[in-house]
Symmetry: C2
């Protein structure tokens, strides 16, 4: 059992190191030695968990969606809003998440690595929530959850990218707030719309409440 725990910790340490290196150097320029040095693990340990650079990149890509974990909300639209703000906030400080986003976005990520996977995972997770929102009567009858979700995932990707290029992501919260201000009136019923919180600092506040709950 202790051995299994150690293996889980080692795997995580490798993933975090790999995320940081992929974030800084991109797929092509990253070498296994760079990851080894950063993770402070042996070559044997790394190859035990990840037989190749491709498999390491894929694992980093697959780690993206858990970073959207937020407390469940009675209003499912609020829960979706919270996920976007929390991911935005975590992008500021978490290099595994940043590396994962870079691999998904950079065209250089080779075709042997499925960089469409996080897009599909986000779409799957968010569509389930938006379908729940529909069942609960939060959505206008014209809303099409699958289309709205595809738009959200694509827009979020580009908005964080533009925010990174222009302000090193300092204005990401504000940009997400603008996104929601434009989209929500087209999908939410008025009674829900008025109660939603999509202000720029929403991510920081949700993360704060998570930390308080954990302490």
């Amino acid at each position: 059992m202790a051995q299994q725990e150690r293996a889980i910790r080692t795997r995580r340490a490798i993933l975090e190191a790999a995320g940081a290196v992929f974030d800084e150097h991109g797929y092509t320029s990253t070498t296994i030695s760079m990851v080894l040095e950063r993770a402070e693990v042996t070559k044997g340990a790394l190859y035990f968990h990840f037989p190749s650079k491709e498999s390491l990149a894929q694992a980093v890509l697959n780690e993206q969606v858990p970073f959207g974990a937020v407390p469940p909300q009675p209003c499912k639209l609020q829960e979706i809003i919270d996920m976007t703000f929390v991911v935005g906030q975590r992008l500021l400080s978490n290099s595994l998440l940043r590396g994962s986003v870079r691999l998904a976005v950079d065209q250089e990520t080779p075709s042997g690595v499925d960089h469409g996977e996080p897009f599909r995972q986000w779409a799957h997770r968010l569509t389930a929530l938006l379908e729940q929102a529909r069942t609960q009567g939060e959505l206008l009858p014209t809303a099409n959850p699958r289309e709205t979700v595809d738009l959200l995932v694509g827009s979020f990707t580009g908005i964080q990218l533009m925010s990174r290029a222009l302000t090193n992501r300092a204005d990401l919260g504000h940009r997400l707030s603008v996104l929601w201000a434009h989209i929500l009136p087209s999908i939410a019923v008025p009674g829900v719309l008025i109660a939603l919180d999509s202000r720029a600092d929403r991510g920081a506040r949700v993360l704060e409440s998570l930390e308080v709950a954990a302490s």
Copy 2:
């Protein structure tokens, strides 16, 4: 004069070759020799126009906005919609545009190259049009042209990227149509809203009319 014309043509040939090579290989893996071979020009001609790989990349980045050229419309919101669809349509076939977009999006583009420049150019061009739309009474009083434009540029960037990752951009027209269906009700007055055309094949139709007009 003939000499000047030749110089303009050579410069364009180099830019188009560079765009194609940047699109296929990204910034880091692209070499000047690859561009020379593709453009079929001499080293001297290339260095006359572009003294370095950085300056070549910057010129490719700066070529992006002219690809949004569309016929002026009485309704300025329609003109903005047309620009997005025409750029989407041209991304399918134009490798200079594709290379320019890749340089703007890829994190590997070095800090000596200003890859925020096309974002700023788009924002500038579109804000002027949206301000005109406001003056003409097309916008709801709550619309904020600068914020809407930043959202459009960021969302377009991510939507084309997701479309490339999942369908090699085959569904880009549909995705743009979904974007507009979500945003327009939050910014356009109803009388304008009903007359706008943002169907998925809008880009193909606008380009067709441009070709007919030119023939």
